[in-house]
Symmetry: D2
């Protein structure tokens, strides 16, 4: 159920409708748009009488949302969601391509800085690196943990790059939220509903990777879990699905990009590194991701992939990353997009670079 | 790495080897077998010199384990693992078929008791019911929580049935471990490695469902995560995988049963309810599961499936459950198995039926 | 569209209705049942006025068939189709389990006779062997061709076994129809519609294997292709589908058996040899196939699998075949089936054993 | 096995080596390259002594080919195969993008000409249209047959467009080879080995579509079947594979493009129409196909898709086709390709436009 306000509705009228909803025992989600504010109602309001709202001041219309996801749906919010990073010009969603680059795992300060320097030089705005690694084997390298978070905070201070890193449970979620700019939820946790709900209670953007065998509906429903708790800054990410095909580690399903964009206002990135598992397939698929209309790409870069503690075979060299940037910059205009090069950080904000960001 | 002890090795000798392993910075996992004890070593001991152990008293052999999973492997423990439930004659693994039955969700005391009475009468030894439900939609019924755990504890007191229920995160894990006899980890959490590790630190049997697109290796590695923390009582459960096929909700992959049994000593059950998603396919697939050699089946039973709050379409009626029991009882001898009917609880233990079990 | 005749309708009345249908430019398919005859109409008769038929003598009802397949549907023919082999007591469909056994390829007269002798001794009624092999590589053994057909005709003469072998194109179809008792159409040709239509014009039973990624609807539609040309003796066969799972060569989808049986009157067999690709999985899955309710199994048997020119790894030994027969004989009664042992051939028919059968 | 000739080897020396191979009972496949000719040997020559060839005049080297496919492999022919159309400047393979457009089925002369006119105007060089349709249902429109071939020959005469159409069995293969410029073999026939071999004996280019669940190896082996019979002009085409994903009809696997290009010299096109099954996904995926490096695209265009007899929902409008051409023209240079606009036909050849081409 969705209450659409008049274009002229005042903030007080919006608040009054929200209060009315909460008094009925449901949850109100005001979603401001360019023209008007819509208010999503969650909490099984299937049987609410529309008449409850139609007479309230400022209400233009009351509509039923037929999709199982509501807050993630374009029915509820027509404009694309653009996620902004205060104090910088970086965005995810909208016309600017977002490029996220970095190693699979943070292995040491030296390794992380060496890679960060090169991806920053090539124009990346976001740095990724694993602090907590969900590994198939309990005996494999599990990440440096908080130490890695600290290194990445230093990288943010030094290069201005915004930091994206994965949380693997409710405990690491708190830590990641404290230190990073975007919380990643990995493919294996896409339906870890407890984790999704906890992430929904935070006020940090969440990058949600598609599960290995998730349908489009399940993917959007996972986003809805986060949004239903009040965190509307969700970034989707296609990273390949599991099929019979054996020439790549996963089958990168680029058709999900226009499919998501038709149904949802949320931004969607593509990860060609996990999506293929092979270094020589990353650039072709990154180009294809931009051509299909993705809001950006997320790639693994390592200066010494042969020595990487995880996923070396799919990490590209810094020189390849620079080549990729040149290629996608040329494709971007065809899909009405632009590739920003580098990040601008306001001095005032840069001044609070103390390793933590609230 | 695996240290195999002599058949005559004393408890002191076993302990001495364990101490030696721990002093080297690794972890020792003594695994008693019918003939001899083997001691698994975890913690990346790839490069340990065998000579370190060969001279210790009681050591028969030191062998490398080539599989990525070690503690779950038959290389390390040849005999089938049989999980026992103190104070009762119930087992999972071995010759006796384990039958787990009950509703998808505990909806009320009345509903749970009505179903429990009928499955107990038909001879089930284990009762299943969801207290915490991982639902695709955040707006769907999420389970009664602790209230459901309490109802199931009453059912254990009243009918003697041992209780299996799902934990969905580290918080509910503690609660489930406190109230239930077996902790279920669902398909969506099969690679929630944080949850697996926490479950590994408990001393309650864990029923681990195969992920929707998990390979055999990944399934056994998930079990290994639990075992690597010291909890060796893991029960595997096939519940269907995701394929292109659309005549059933999932494709139940029965061939995984003999495949697991070849590589691992852990028991494996089959869930034909989730595996097909259709009531009229449950009995045929339950029969097939027993014929293929599974250690038991896990089925959803509801006395009023049309009114079920979740998964009604795949729940069988109590009368169908009784029919299923008769059918599998007749198939069991072909695979050298027996179907026990009902559970025997020792009075002394029954006396401490206080709603909790340590 | 289906015209259902009265139970008392005469042959003349049935013929009159068929003539009426053909005069309208459509095709009539009289399908005799236990109680009454139904007449299927094909040739896009979507818009025919029911009134055209309701007044004809002997017509009880005229019903629309909503499924895309008509002749294969239970709506059109309620009773199970049972395929009989004149001059013998062998059947496929109905209460008697049909067991088809033999080598992947006929390699020599000696090899074929050695295997046939042992499967006949264990009670098989049908012998399978490849004369024309669809091999992934053009450089692999492609079968002995007509020579193999001759050897199998000798085997029929000598052991009484009915012969099943694969045709791979319209040319080999004629030859196989001439020499064998059942024409097999392989998984790779399940949607070779030209071949299906040609097979539909013959009057020999056709064993149709499910394609590697065929849905249930596509499977039944492929059968419909054969039936729409007038050949109603179609036997379906599940042989595994292609999924991400890598512990078996294919994923044997046993749930298709009850799914087919609900929608269609055609018999369905299961091939656990191709379905798993591994010798040690054949017996467990054959047992499961019978327990799920299949009308029989089709297995590869070789006396020297290590020397087989194709698919040795999935062929079972004759002793294992005998063991399988014992096991499924014990499971059969649970699903109201019987395992006949051996085939009885009438002398009169046996006398025309001249290597060809019309 | 592959005999590599000296750069200076004469035609006589090449012929002498071929004769030598044939005398040994094998088949010789001379494959001229830019620098040197290589001669593939097929017919199970695994155990040939290299010494048989090393002493022949003009032989530089004798190498074993480890891949199961040989003639399709880059090991055997390093340069990309470029297929030329005599009397025109059209090519498939190499730097020029090949654009194939037209309706799913030829429905009438008017329909075909209306569409051909618009795709020619927008710059297509190849026209596709179904004459023989492999339809899932025997009751669906099966194509106009020879009538459609005649219409397409007229379109070639009138617009200069080269014609691509599908053959579905050995009979239609002869007809298609007679009338069209490229013979299409559809996804359902990718492993119809009899058809592949027959196509291999013709001297017309063959466009081979990837099967719905074909691995990369199987795809290249199917091409090898055609090539092993002497027809080296094979064009591969990705058209989507079958997975669990339900937001598109198939999952278009663009990663196969660079994977094929690494292993094989054959050109590869992409069909985003069948690959997605949805009109609004065709342009995004066509752009992605060019960006990933495909040699061209094959799209369904219909001027009245709502009235199409088959696959209307995935056909784009002529105006969308023109838009697609503009978009991919801009992406082409990034992958070192060019989009030719229109086809130039030499007058002499144009003069023999008699509806047939040998």
């Amino acid at each position: 159920m969705l209450v659409v306000m008049n274009a002229q509705a005042t903030q007080e009228q919006i608040q009054a409708v929200c209060n009315h909803i909460e008094q009925m025992g449901f949850r109100a989600h005001p979603l401001p748009g360019a023209q008007r504010t819509a208010i999503g109602i969650t909490g099984n309001p299937g049987e609410i009488d529309r008449g409850n709202f139609e007479d309230l001041a400022g209400v233009a219309d009351v509509i039923r949302v037929s999709k199982p996801y509501k807050l993630a749906s374009r029915d509820v919010k027509e404009e694309d969601t653009i996620i902004r990073f205060p104090g910088t010009d970086a965005t995810i969603g909208g016309r600017n391509l977002a490029i996220v680059a970095g190693p699979c795992s943070i292995e040491s300060r030296e390794q992380a800085f060496a890679i960060a320097e090169q991806v920053a030089a090539a124009g990346a705005q976001f740095f990724r690196g694993g602090a907590y690694k969900p590994r198939t084997s309990p005996y494999a390298f599990q990440g440096l943990g908080v130490e890695a978070l600290r290194i990445m905070a230093e990288i943010r201070d030094h290069f201005g790059l915004r930091i994206i890193t994965e949380a693997i449970d409710n405990e690491t979620l708190e830590l990641v939220a404290e230190w990073a700019d975007v919380i990643q939820i990995g493919a294996r946790n896409m339906q870890n509903f407890s984790l999704l709900k906890h992430a929904g209670r935070l006020r940090k953007p969440v990058l949600l990777k598609r599960g290995m065998s998730a349908t489009l509906d399940e993917f959007l429903m996972a986003a809805e879990y986060i949004m239903s708790e009040g965190n509307y800054e969700v970034i989707l990410c296609e990273r390949g699905v599991r099929t019979f095909a054996d020439h790549t580690r996963n089958t990168l399903d680029l058709s999900i990009v226009p499919s998501v964009q038709k149904l949802s206002h949320l931004p969607i990135l593509v990860d060609p590194s996990h999506g293929t598992g092979k270094r020589d397939k990353v650039l072709p698929m990154a180009r294809a991701a931009v051509a299909v209309g993705a809001h950006g790409v997320l790639v693994e870069v390592h200066h010494q992939p042969d020595k990487a503690l995880s996923d070396g075979a799919q990490s590209i060299y810094p020189a390849q990353f620079a080549e990729m940037m040149d290629e996608i910059e040329r494709i971007a205009p065809v899909v009405h997009r632009t590739l920003p090069r580098g990040i601008h950080v306001e001095t005032a904000v840069a001044g609070v670079h103390d390793g933590k960001r609230k």
